[in-house]
Amino acid sequence: MKQFHIPMPVRYGMNTILIIALLLVGHLLMESGVLPRAHANNVIQVGFFIILAVSLNLTAGYLGQLPLGHAGFMAVGAYVGAIFWRSGLLPDGASIVVGLLFAGLVAALFGVMIGIPALRLRGDYLAIITLGFGEMIRVLINNIPTVTGGAQGLLGIPRHSSFLVVYICVVITCVAVHMLMKSRHGRAILSIRENEIAAESCGINTTYYKVMAFAFSAFFAGVAGALFAGNLGILVPGEFGFMTSINILMIVVLGGMGSMAGAVIAAAILTSLPLVMQGLAHFHVISYLPGASEHIVRYILQWIAQHRMIIYALLLIIAMIAKPTGLLGNYDFSLSRILEKLIRRRNVGKAEKGGADHG
């Protein structure tokens, strides 16, 4: 039995149209001023966190290692990007592109450096080494104030992170990681996670692919860092602490290790959580609640909004009990696959009721 498949060019066309449509809608919403400032800023932040989560997923989900220093790569990218943009070497348009590339490349270099110990260590040991690396970067930034502004912070960074720029970076990250993973190189990375000895016995250069995954992952974290700098306009080293790394890891774990769609959805939900709770607390429907319960509900919502990390931890515990593989496991979303299923189901329905269908 031949199964129905949407041909590749049509699939690519569909996805391209979807990407452009989302861009137009987003751009209109953001630039027309319909969205309140806080919401607009939240959208931009969701953007960084998608890039951070998708890039961390490469090592944590696909390669199967557990790095805890993702914020370190982000910090490297943030400072490289910020310093480059402040220098004003290039006109604005070119400066944005070159600055982002530069931020990514320097972060990737650090990725290679951290990838090398990762060749020998795994599990808890790798987690500790990368955690140390993240903190080391932060301390380093604090201690070279002539370059980084030290603890005082780096001010006057050009605000380059418009919706358009962030959106394009998100799309490039997701597409590049997807294309990588659906190639012989991506299969090599997955095979290392699945069984390293078997991978080597199949002629996979595991050393090369581990370092490559770390470099790739760090590159995009660096880009996200630069976008972060271009959004805030000011950088302080405290932003890139251990908690930020944990935050990103939490998104990946909740979304499902090894699922890009999961990482994107979890990034959007977790990043928007405080804002949504704040919004709910001020929702006028609540004032119709009887007596004291109005105040209690409002208090709870506000408490959640302010204690994000506690909620994250609770979510994580619940997820580990209810669905240890995360929101989507390692399932990956594909518009065309859903369409194919729908079309197939209709065809099957025509022919006979029921029928064995497997994805």
């Binding site: 294309m179 990588l180 012989r184 190189h185 997955l190 095979s191 078997a198 080597e200």
Partner: protein, 277 residues
């Protein structure tokens, strides 16, 4: 090569005048104070099916691990098509022509059957990272050819219909067969099979025997296999080496091995039996 003559009687007639595809000279390994394998010598002809038998714990799997460089030998050397493998790692040994299966199956369980074989075909494809990400024609061409090849290899064991199932979800016998297909995909000169019939029923074992012979004939490669099923060993192996306590105790044709008193003693001593083959 003359000085290693005692090993040559194993090699079948048709391979006698050709250079052995794989040759071990005095191979040995110690784990701490324990000598797991010692003075292992063998030469395998380029189209030979050779068996390695011996009681449990004799060191057979350890020899495969030495050959594939999962362990580095403490003593001795191994040559692949005349090339010294001293400085090779597992990946390089595979590229030099050695492919293997594992006694405790090591599939990429979360990947599909097809992807397992495609990992085996990794080095048969050559497009680089840039071409993959930009989806240039080289990517499409290479992937199409590889997929066709993978399906062709799967068809040896009639496994095309399982191509999109997760490898970990296959029944035991199919997992063993998939490991053989994945190893074949790497285009080896020598195929090492570690207890390929373990856990298979007699009908499955019979099918496996035919397929091992078929693989040897169609690909014109050497097969070196560890097996406890004497029926299989006696029927398809042209030469058999017997290991006991890490040392070779006999080498010869299946008929010679069957009647060798040392071999009978080794097996009777551990409760197994060659006689019932």
């Amino acid at each position: 090569m003359g000085k290693h003559d005692p090993r040559t009687p194993l090699i079948p007639e048709r391979d006698q005048d050709k250079r052995p595809v794989m040759e071990c000279v005095g191979l040995g390994i110690d784990f701490g104070g324990l000598t797991a394998v010692d003075d292992f010598n063998i030469a395998i002809g380029p189209t030979e099916i050779c068996g390695l038998i011996g009681p449990n714990g004799a060191g057979k799997t350890t020899i495969f691990n030495l050959l594939t460089k999962v362990y580095q030998p403490t003593r001795g050397s191994m040559y692949l098509e005349g090339i010294d493998t001293r400085h090779m790692n597992t990946m390089q040994a595979n590229k030099a022509g050695l492919a293997r299966t594992f006694q405790n199956i090591r599939l990429f369980r979360e990947l599909t059957v097809l992807d397992n074989v495609l990992v085996g075909l990794h080095n048969e494809m050559s497009y680089n990272l840039g071409k993959a990400i930009l989806r240039l024609p080289a990517y499409w061409r290479s992937e199409r050819i590889a997929k066709e090849r993978a399906m062709e290899l799967l068809s040896i064991f009639h496994m095309q219909d399982m191509a999109y199932h997760k490898a970990g979800s296959l029944p035991y016998g199919s997992q063993r067969r998939l490991e053989i297909v994945r190893a074949l995909a790497t285009n080896p000169a020598v195929l090492l099979l570690d207890e390929p019939a373990a856990g298979m029923n007699p009908a499955e074992t019979e099918g496996l025997m035919e397929n091992i012979k078929k693989i040897q004939e169609t690909f014109q490669i050497a097969v070196f296999l560890i097996e406890h099923d004497m029926h299989l060993v006696m029927n398809i192996c042209e030469g058999v080496a017997v290991l006991n306590y890490g040392r070779l105790i006999a080498k010869g044709t299946p008929a010679q091995i069957q009647n060798n008193p040392k071999v009978i003693e080794a097996y009777l001593g551990t409760g197994g039996g060659v006689a019932d083959a």
